[in-house]
Every structure is written in C-alpha cells, then in structure tokens.
Symmetry: D2
Subunit: 327 residues, 4 copies
C-alpha cells in the first residue's frame, strides 16, 4: 500500500508539534507539507527542537496534494482555511479546532464528531472529522458508558485539571512559570466551551430527550501535560460496583486505548500515550469515575491520528503504540 | 509582660518545624522546650536546616515548665502524651492532631475546637484547644458563612487539592518525587477523616438539625505547600451575587486573616502566610466558593499560634504578619 | 523616632512586589508612594494579589517627599529616572538595577556598591546605594572571603542556577511554563553581565592587582525562587578544611544573614529569607564553595532593605527576620 | 527471523520498567521472563501501572531460556546473580549495573563497555555488555570527540544535574517531594562513582598515557527525568568554533542518536527519547560543551536496547524511535 500523503496546517503550535512527533514514526504516512502563515522556509526541527535529527522537513505554503490535511489552526480559523484554500474534494480533513464539532456541515463537507470510542463506525465511513476537545474527551470517556447504558439519571459533577500546554504556546500571565509553578486556580467556572460538545454527544450516545446538567469546574494545573477528571453522578438504584465495572468494561471492550483500572489511577500513568485510564468507585449513592488522558495526545493529536487510522482502514492503533514517559 | 513559655512536643515534623519558624520571631514568646522521642540532644537547626543561624535550641526530653504546649505528635499520639507526661493543670495545651477535635473532654481538660473565625470568643476563654485539620479549615471557611446565614439548604460538593507536606515527613510511594512530580491523583474519596469535624462544626455554626451531606474529593497535588478548595452548593432563591458577597464580608469582618476577593484567586497568593482567600461566583443556580490556604500555616501551625494569641489575650495577628512567598 | 518615608518607583515588577511584602511589615517604615508609568490609580494589592487585605496603597505618579526611593526600574532606566524627576538632594536613592554598580558617580550623587557583607561601614556612611545583582551576590559571598584572606590565587569556576523570577515578569519563551517546567538550559555562557561587578569588587576586597578570571556558566532552573551557586578554585598550599572554614566564619562573624554550614546545603533552606548559606569542601587541590540565596530577597529587595537599615542606622536585620518557606 | 527471547532480571525498578516500556513495542523481541526476588506472581502492569492494557506478563522466578538477559539489579548484585543462576553460556547478558564496567572479565565472560558511540564494532562482536552509567554517558558524549581528536589537553570541568529517577525507586529524604521540589543540592562532590569509567574510557578512546583530571560537580535537580551536563576544558591553540563543530559532527556522523545543535539546547528536547544533543561554544580560551540525555533511556535502558540491537545485528535504532515528550 502506498503511504498516506499528510499535510499539517498550522503546525508551529503544540498540537502540530505532536502530530509531527507521532507521524514521523507512523509506518503508513508520508508528511508532504507543513504549512504556516508565519514560518515559511523554517525547518520544522528549528521550531520543534526535540525533532533535531529526525526530519529535514521545512514549513512552507504549498499543500502538495495531500490525501488528508490536519488543521491545527486555533479555534475559529479552520472555516477560514477551508474557504480560502483550494482543497481537492477527495482530500480529507481532520480538524483539531472547534469549528465543526457542534455543526459539521460546512462547504459541502460533513465533519463527523471524532470521539473514536463512541462513533467508530461513523468515523470509518466519514470523509471529514471534527476532533474532540481535550477536556471533552476526558469527561465523555467517563460519562458515555453510563449514558449508553441508560444509567445517567441526574446531573453530573465534574472537576478536571489540565496542564499548561492546554493553554497554547503563546506566553501569557497564567502560563508564566513564576505564576503557574506550585499554583492552582479555576477558570471558566461552569462555563467552559467544551460543555456544548459534551452535552450534545451524551444526548446522542444515550438517546436522551434533553441535555443533562453538567457542572464543570476546570482547574489550571502546575504541570505541562495531562488531564485528570473527577466525575460523579447519582448512582442508579440497585447497581453494585461490579455492575458498574461491567458497564465500563463492556463499553470499551473493543477499544485498544481505554482501560478500566480496578485500582486507583494517577494522571502520569497515561502521559505521552494515547491511552485513557478510568477507575470507578461507588460511595454514598454516588458513582464516581476518575479519568486520565494526555491532553495533547488522546485529547488532541493522538486521537486525530486514531481518527485517520479509522478513516483509512488501518488498524486503529497504528503508529500510536507510544512509550509512556511514566515519570 | 513576661514572655509566654512555650514547649513544642514532637517538633521534628513539618508542623513542628513551622511552629519554630513562626515562634522564633514571635515577640511575646520564649521557646523553652522542644521534646522528641527520637532526637534528644540534636540541635533544632540540624533537623530544620533552614533555621541555621536562627536558634541554638536543641531537642530534649524535659518540658521545662511551659505556659503552653503545642502537640505535634501525629494523630492518635496526643492522648497518650497527656496520659504519660506530668503536665501542670495550669499549663495550656494546643493539639495539632485530631485526638480532641470531635470530643474535647479528656483527662479533666476541655479542648475547644479552634477554628478561630467561628469560635473566637470560646477560644479566648478556652484553657485548651484542638486545632482544626488543614482540609477542614479550607472547606469550613468556604461553607460556614452560608451555614451561619441559614443559606445552606442542600448537599455540598467539594474538590480540594493539597500539597505533599500534607502527607507528612515520612517518605513513601505517593510522596516520592518521581511519582508525585507532574502528577494528580485522588485519595480517600468521599471518606476523608476531616469530614467528621467539618460536619460537626457546620451543624454548630448553622444551628442545624442534621448534618449536611458533604461530597468531598481530595486530590494529591504536585506542589509542597497549599490547599485549594472548590466548593459549591445550591443557591438560595432570590439571592444575588452581591448578597452572597455581603454574607462573606460580614462573616469575616473582624478577621485579620480571611478576605473575600472580588476577582478570581490562585493558591500561591496565600502560600507561606496565615491568610485565607475566598472568591464566590453564582452560576446556574449554584453558589461556588473558591478557598485557598497554606496547609501548614492557616491549616496547622499558624492557626495554632493564632489560637495561642487569642488564649493569651494578645492581638490575634501577633507574630503572624508573614511575608508571602508569592512565587 | 518618626518612620522612614519610603517611595518605591516601578513597583509593579517582582522586586517591587518583594519590597512591598517586606516593607509593609517593617516597623520603622511608612510607604508614602508607589510610582509607575503604567498603572497609576490601580491598588497595589490588585497587581500583587497576595497583598489583598494587607494594604490600601494605590500606584500613583507623585513621590510624596520620601526620605528614600527604591528604584525597581529595569536595567538602564534608573539614570533616566534620576534625570527626569525632581528628587530632593536630601532624599536617598537605593537602585536595584545595574545603572550605578560599576560607576557610582552620577548627577552629583555617589552610589556605593551595596554588598552589605563587604562594605558595611561604607554603606552606613553612604547617601546612595547601588544594590548588587542576584548572581553577583551569591557568587561574591562565596569568593570574597578568599580574596580578603589573600587566598585567591587562580581562576574561579562558577556554575549557578537561578529561578524564573530572575527573568522578570514579562512573559517570554523561556519563562513559559510549558518550556521551563522540568527543563534546564544555559544562557549567557561565560558572558553574564554580572561578571563585571563581581570582578570589580573582588579586586577591591582582595586589593588585587588584576581582575581574576571567572568562568561563569549560568543555568535556567525549573523553580521560581532561589539561586544555588557552585564555586571552586585552586586551594592554597597547606591550608586544611578547618583553615578554610575559619576564613569564612571570621569573614561573616558580624553578619546576621550569612552562615557557614558544616553539612551540605540545599537551596530551599534560604528561600523566602534574606539569608545566605555557604558550605565549603576541599578535594583534589580545589576548594569548593556552595552558596545559596533567594534571588529576590538577599539577591535584590531584601538586601536593598538591609542597605536601607544600614544607611538609617537601624539594626541591620530590622524587618528582615522572615519566616522561611522551607518547602 | 524468529524473535529474540528476552529476560529482564530485577524488573520492578525504574530501569526495568523502562525496558518493558521499550521492548513491548520492539518488533524483534519477545519478553519471555521477568524475574524478581520480591514480586513473583504479580502482574508487571500492577508494578508499572502505566502498562495497564499493554501486557499480561507477570513477574516470576524462571528465566525461560532467554537469548539475552538484561540485569537491572542495583549495583553490586549482578555478580551475585551470575554466580547463583544457571545461565546457559550461549545466553548473552547486558548488565545495567556497574559490576562489570571497570573490569569486564567475570565467570568466563567478557563484558564489553557498551557506550555505543565509542565502541560500536566491539559491541557488535561482544557476547556480553556492561551498560554505561547515566552521568558517564552524558559526560563522555561531550568529551570523547575531543579525546579521539587529540584535543584534550587539560583538566575537564563538569557540572551535571540529574532527575530524581536517577536515585532509584526506594523513597528517601532527598527524593521526598517536599524536599526535592524547587530545590537544588550537590552530592558526591568531586567523587562520583562514574568518574572511574569516564576516565578509563577517555584514556582508551584518546589513547592517552594518563587519566585526565575531571572535576565533577553532580547536582540533584527538581525534575524526574533527564541529565544536563555542562563541560569545559582549555581550547586547543588555533582551533575555531567551526573546527570544533566539525570534530563533533565527524565523530557522530554514523550515530542515529547523537546530534550537534548549532543553537543552544535545553534538556527537555531529549526527554523520553534515546537521543543525545550536544552544543559547543568557544569562549575565553575554553571550549564548552552542553550535553543532554534522558537518564533512564540513553543513560540506561534505551542504550541497553541499542546495545542489544548491535549485538543481534539489527539496525541500531530498532524499537528506539521514541516519541519525545517535549513538555
């Protein structure tokens, strides 16, 4: 099989960098273009300096007839990119921004919401994909099995903490090391933009009549990579912990990346991998789910490659068996 | 006025160290003894090495007739200490463990629960004090004003994250740097031992008929000092944000250490101080309170000194105007 | 005695913030002005948010007839400030920048180089002071006793690591949390701007004929506060470790802030204090000195206050007995 | 080709864990045994919890007839292991401890010192290999090109900082998070045990008459992974920076893992990879080399696999194209 010709648009940021790090070692991919508005002519390894010795690729302006384009453009810019570039209809698009997550119909394309574990078959048939948000991934992986099992009966309480890479590469006050080191703070309390895609997909997966209430407290963490989500909701009458564990194990039985741990989890167990770890406990009438992902991989670029694998009928985990950093 | 003769029992640990750091600069205190079961004869500055040049005190076994003893003994050992040491009845005791928090009557003494902001007059009259737990302090400071105002009408949702010093000086798996750095995990989910003192004092302050339900998710944070608590409960009908702010400002009007911030807070704003910062927001029918303290100071040794100041009729903030580390 | 009227110019940055944190609790000081070009009218506690509840002071444009002005203006701006402001001749100036360190004669004033431990009497008589740089302080405290004792006979090898606050408040690539966390890098290799003041003062203290060669490798550390310097040079014939220890103890016998530790030191032992800790070892013909300070306190604002205390004939440690953060 | 049957002895520690993380994805390897004295019967993924879902392997006591055994036994235990286990003569051994680095002749075997870049052909022919130390690798990669080029004419000054994983899994005072976070300290000043293997190999590579003097200051860093070494020595007369760069580029021309960066480097650029980055500068008569590796990969388990690849005539980088964590 000839290699998939991949273009990365907007690859100077964090998610673009992760795509290079993953795709340079993907056995079925050739990166044919890395476009940017700002750094044309600059070697990729000069921007992502950990890639010294691994690629001679330079940023440029031409797409070079790719089979698929990954858009890493910052939220709101993807539509503009589709409008102003002459992209062949046969070229697939995987958007890592939020432009097509809530409404996937655009410019004659239909972007499927690409949470791999909830829509695998749809993604396999999709021409274009809207990659989910990072918090949205961690939280949905904790909630969807309940929704699918008809066991989501009350509002959902979520507190989730994210690394500094979630805030992007542009330096600012809350990503200054002197501020962030050893610090914790709340942002976008009860109003994070990922709530909309979370609720929409819960309704779809659970075939619900109405959106559930999700109370979401996002925290800024003093680490660079990772998301750890604490999620709980009223337990259903009569279900035991074993019943709940079975719901989760069944839901993820076919997933190569999502695992239920019988013991408590910690965030670093998934950092620098495409895996998600879940752990459930039952207390005082509440079912609690801890969920951990790497925000840049399963929460962004890894899941985007997982989507590409599905779309191109490759084994889902091709190029995604990543060595955990663990420490 | 002659100085208060202070003994510190069990001063080789973190809360003992903080007592030395605070009391060495307290204008009304003379530390007359630092007892230990393990390090008799060892200079205090050899155990707490940041104190080099600040004290010639050595650990020993004699109490030296103190006016007050601070017990920093680890939970469960305080009762034993009282039983086995010949402490004069006139000598006051401030216990930093949890032995007397739920039931203060012991060995002819009555330990008053020493959350300064909720029981200032009782503490002024107290002979002995049970110092509150660190999480218990951060969470109660967020909840008590609502309880006192009769506005606590539903269960309370709490997620709070603590530094590694909360786990004590003895090294273990979850305080190993290689584990804890850049990591987040949950422990004692919905079952933390501070829940009992929290509920008991809420009932007292709010004159409630029954204990409120408090769902508490404790997180291990990847920092050494500080607690950041996120607390929310159903808002009362018809109360505006301004109404809530007034409830908090009124409740803490006489406190030299607790402040309501109109803007969002971050944990480091209180680190290395005896202060607590609170911030309230109103969303979707919930009142949310962010609360930040230093776990070792306002959450332990600082509050213990604040209690001593109250008991000895000194200005409440004597020796506690500490320079914030801020970064 | 009436209080010293203090103005802080350029107090929105890190060293300005530290001056507020120290001086608000200084018993002999009244802060009468905090000037700024950018934030006039803004409360100091809104910029330095850890000061909530501790001061109602606002930034402004008037100096309000101070007895002493601290200049926290960024390097190169101090001269301009002196030129363009109508400062009374009687008003003293303590400059925290580097404008007057190498040449103290300016605008009819003579700025004395204010490394307190090497020029205490000169500072007591000085009208104006140029406060030393942070690296310059840590390194000189390690080297000066040798120079003063006539035992500096060869080039000096220095590697020193500093916290992110050393790079200032303005965010940039190398202070972005995602870059700096868990990272180490070199900057200004063998060419750091503090070398000039270090060499100049070594010559003065040692009454040397020529500047010593100082090979200085500055490292960016992944922490916010502190400097740890590793310094070594050829040992003098025949001197034992005890001889060297005596040289250091004698040199700092009158200092309330500099201490020789017989055991190895770690940086956090001085963080959030005005102390310096030194430790010497003798190996393979080299005398090695480890030196640790807080870059913002002994390396900047704390030493500036120490200089003020000397200039105003207060006890040198007034307002500078700071609680270590320790963790 | 049939897969290489690999046994890992002592795989519960950090280097053992890294071997699992690497070898589980190595295309030519089958892990047939993981022996341990303490955890027989326990799943590997229960000890190395990031491996949940990636392996069903359990720790055991049988070696299961491997083609090669990796010894991860802690220094001093490897000889004992060879003595007490009935290892077939045909089975190769790669020792990650220091038992055979200085003297490779033992029990009828000859352990070749396995710094891949300095002894590639010897390793290809070796039956057994002594894997170099982590500091030893970082420092030698900086120094060997000079030695090989005959340009090492004076003593070498080294300061290198290492992560907490370098200290092993057993918790202790200096790996306690509360101690290590935001802290820097020196250990084994001028006397680190890696100096012997460094000097021995420099002599060999440079064909020197005598061991060079190497002044080595090891620092404990406040991060988990990585080593950053700062190395300098007197420059040779007449050599330009370009001359030096050519020496390094030539020396590493055939290496898939060692690269000279023209721009300054930072440690995280190599973390979680088997790469080493070098950067050279010329100042004041000194040639300075910055060198960065991941202590657990190029400094231990990755280099061990690189050695295995060489010994089994596989492409040197098989299974070692690891995604950098970068942040």
């Amino acid at each position: 099989m000839s290699k998939i010709r991949v273009a990365i648009a907007g690859g100077t940021g964090y998610t673009g960098g992760e795509l290079f790090r993953i795709l340079l070692n993907h056995p079925n991919v050739e990166i044919v273009a890395a476009t940017t508005t700002s750094s044309a002519g600059v070697p990729v390894a000069q921007v992502h300096r950990d890639l010294i010795g691994e690629t001679d690729l330079c940023f440029g302006t031409e797409l070079n007839d790719p089979d698929v384009i990954f858009l890493c453009l910052g939220h709101g810019i993807s539509r503009q990119f589709v409008d102003t570039n002459d992209i062949k209809p046969s070229c697939r698009i995987i958007d890592l921004g939020n432009d097509f997550r809530l409404d996937g119909d655009y410019a004659g394309r239909n972007f499927v919401y690409g949470l791999c574990e909830s829509a695998k078959e749809d993604i396999r048939k999709a021409h274009d994909v809207a990659n989910p948000g990072c918090f949205a991934t961690a939280i949905q992986l904790a909630v969807l099995p309940l929704a699918a099992a008809g066991k989501l009966n009350d509002e959902v309480h979520v507190t989730a903490i994210t690394g500094s890479t979630g805030a992007g590469k542009k330096p600012g006050e809350t990503t200054h090391f002197s501020y962030r080191n050893d610090n914790i703070s709340i942002y976008k309390l009860f109003s994070h933009q990922h709530l909309a895609e979370i609720k929409k997909n819960i309704v779809k997966v659970g075939a619900l009549d109405a959106e559930p209430k999700v109370n979401f407290v996002p925290l800024r963490g003093d680490f660079a990579r990772g998301i750890f989500a604490s999620v709980y909701t009223k337990a259903a009458e009569g279900l035991t912990l074993e019943d709940y564990q079975k719901i989760y194990e069944d839901y993820y039985a076919a997933s190569p990346f999502v695992f239920l741990s019988k013991e408590g989890i910690s965030m670093k167990e998934v950092v620098n991998t495409n895996k998600a770890l879940l752990h459930v406990e039952l207390h005082d009438g509440y079912i609690h789910i801890a969920s951990a992902i790497d925000n840049l991989i399963k929460g962004a670029s890894g899941q985007a490659v997982q989507n590409m694998n599905l779309m191109f009928r490759l084994p889902e985990d091709t190029g995604l068996r990543l060595k955990p950093s663990a420490f």
